[in-house]
């Protein structure tokens, strides 16, 4: 997993609530057995028409947002299916950070496992950044994970919360499984206890 520290990038505005993972990556692209290559199908049904031509109005099809690295969105982003293909598609497109008032639980976790930082901000602050994002390529938003700040293109600074453990993993690009296996003895002793207390498991 790539380390995440600072990011200064173009933010694409997507002012919709309840953007579900079916929208982010429709099921026909879940048939892959790989993690890569999903970026072209990110938001597929909103991005292309029936003949697979790009829909010019969709934000990521606009020239100024083709290189967006940040997405600013509405409430409950990433709800629905647990598919990790959603963060894989975002990452493959180039999105490293999402800013929204709230996220669905599984999607939120999945982001951290893939080097994407999902930031929660109050609606008023998301509204300000949404306006900022609407300015297009001239407006770069800066995200500093270490300092836990976002700086708008006007220089306005917002602070955000992040779980310290998740922050540590993201900043160092750490593999969760490796970390857990370091605690293998706790798992083995739990299993010994389980075998005597609840042998039917």
């Amino acid at each position: 997993m790539d380390k995440f520290n600072k990011l200064s990038g173009i933010a694409a505005p997507l002012p919709l609530i309840n953007i579900d993972t079916d929208m982010i990556i429709p099921k026909q692209f879940l048939k892959t057995i790989k993690r890569s290559g999903l970026g072209v199908n990110l938001f597929d049904e909103m991005r292309y028409d029936d003949d697979r031509n790009e829909i010019p109005d969709f934000v990521l099809n606009k020239p100024q947002y083709r290189n967006a690295e940040i997405l600013v969105a509405g409430d409950n982003f990433g709800c629905g299916s647990s598919r990790e293909h959603a963060p894989w598609a975002l990452l493959d497109f180039g999105i490293r950070c999402v800013i929204a008032p709230s996220y669905a639980d599984i999607f939120f976790n999945n982001c951290f496992k893939n080097g994407i930082l999902p930031i929660v901000l109050p609606q008023e602050q998301v509204d300000i950044l949404m306006k900022d994002a609407e300015k297009g390529a001239n407006a770069r938003i800066e995200v500093d994970l270490d300092a836990q700040t976002i700086t708008s293109s006007d220089g306005e600074v917002f602070t955000f919360d992040v779980d310290p453990f998740k922050k540590h993993c993201l900043m160092n690009g750490l593999d969760d499984i490796g970390l857990t296996l370091e605690k293998k003895s706790s798992i083995t002793s739990y299993e010994a206890k389980l075998a005597s207390e609840r042998p039917w498991v």
Partner: protein, 467 residues
Amino acid sequence: MSPKTLYDKIWDAHVAHQAEDGTCLLYIDRHLVHEVTSPQAFEGLRMTGRTVHAPDKTIAVPDHNVPTTLDRAKGIENEESRIQVEALDKNAKDFGIHYYPVSDIRQGIVHIVGPEQGWTLPGMTVVCGDSHTATHGAFGALAHGIGTSEVEHVLATQTLIQKKSKNMKVEITGKLLPGVTAKDITLSVIGKTGTAGGTGYVIEYCGEAIRDLSMEGRMTVCNMAIEGGARAGLIAPDDKTFAYVMGRPHAPKGAQWEAALAWWKTLYSDDDAHWDKVVTLKGEDIAPVVTWGTSPEDVLPITGTVPAPADFTGGKVEAAKRSLEYMGLEPGTPLNQIKIDTVFIGSCTNGRIEDLRAAAEILKGKKVKDGMRAMVVPGSGLVRAQAEEEGLAQIFIDAGFEWRLAGCSMCLAMNPDQLSPGERCAATSNRNFEGRQGRGGRTHLMSPAMAAAAAVTGHLTDIREMM
């Protein structure tokens, strides 16, 4: 000892390690696996030279991609789907995990197979790379969906890195009125709390109306906890739970059964346990409901009318506008006048035997309206066999329904069972998202009896008029 909720008790019994900041390694008792969200996880194990830590606690079954047509023995036509199912065949074999291949009569939707085979037991932690894992909460098991990286983590370590969620109580008091089902309860709760209302919580469903439900009804309720945003949904186990579990192939037997039972009986929320949020609905206030929009929170009683964007506030105004346009609906239209093209009965929400019985009850001696497409997809091969034995299959066939083999089918349309653009479907599944059942397809969620009624009349129908 301080009073605990059911969730607190199950959580405490599964913490293998706790860090100072409260991050825990939660031990996982059952790991269910399907073909769509697992190939990358097994590949990850291979690349790092890791193995499956507890293969005897890992159960795999292909369900999302499998064809449900009667000729499926001839194989999967779509190459990518076929590769995905073949990858699961191989991974199950290579890593030595329990497996129900497509050719096995026990094959079906993973959330139906788990309980049916007795893999799901009270007080367990159950995970699966699938959001509807919440279903297993009906047994008083802490069950939730995970992403593929977490699938790999559980395969390699049999644990998950977790922080505890908050406790939410959803109480349904009193009795349900005739025609009102578990599906109407769960949809009505989401209608009330919204799709983000449960975010950050584990819900425990309780109250007389929940106690009165069968195990299958309870599974329907918990199945959609995720649609309310919750990490998991739980129902305290009781005699109905124990009776359902007893004698199933992988349920404990003999002395182990007695020991298990003794522990299971301690699994309830203490009287003065702390709840971070409480929602109460009166059973008598719940009507047969349908969804009108493209979010599961877009729920109304069948006696209602299509709302207008102006009826909402905030971000929902724009969302409602978009939904109505997508659904091709005019505000003010009575819901029971909405014409339907297709009926889909099945899914892990409503693909069990009682669901098929409820639908067949309505269809007995009746016909699917001319020009409509209707299909029943049983949740497992065993459900299908039982429905044939009880004569339900014949009722469906006589009415003009297609009688399919088990799988996810048109719930998410990864296999060839799909809606075409503009096609309107009465579905017993759980998601009415844009494109969920096929690009441009329009989904109305409802109970099996309501879906059957729509098949007969050709429009959304108040089931109480047919009883």
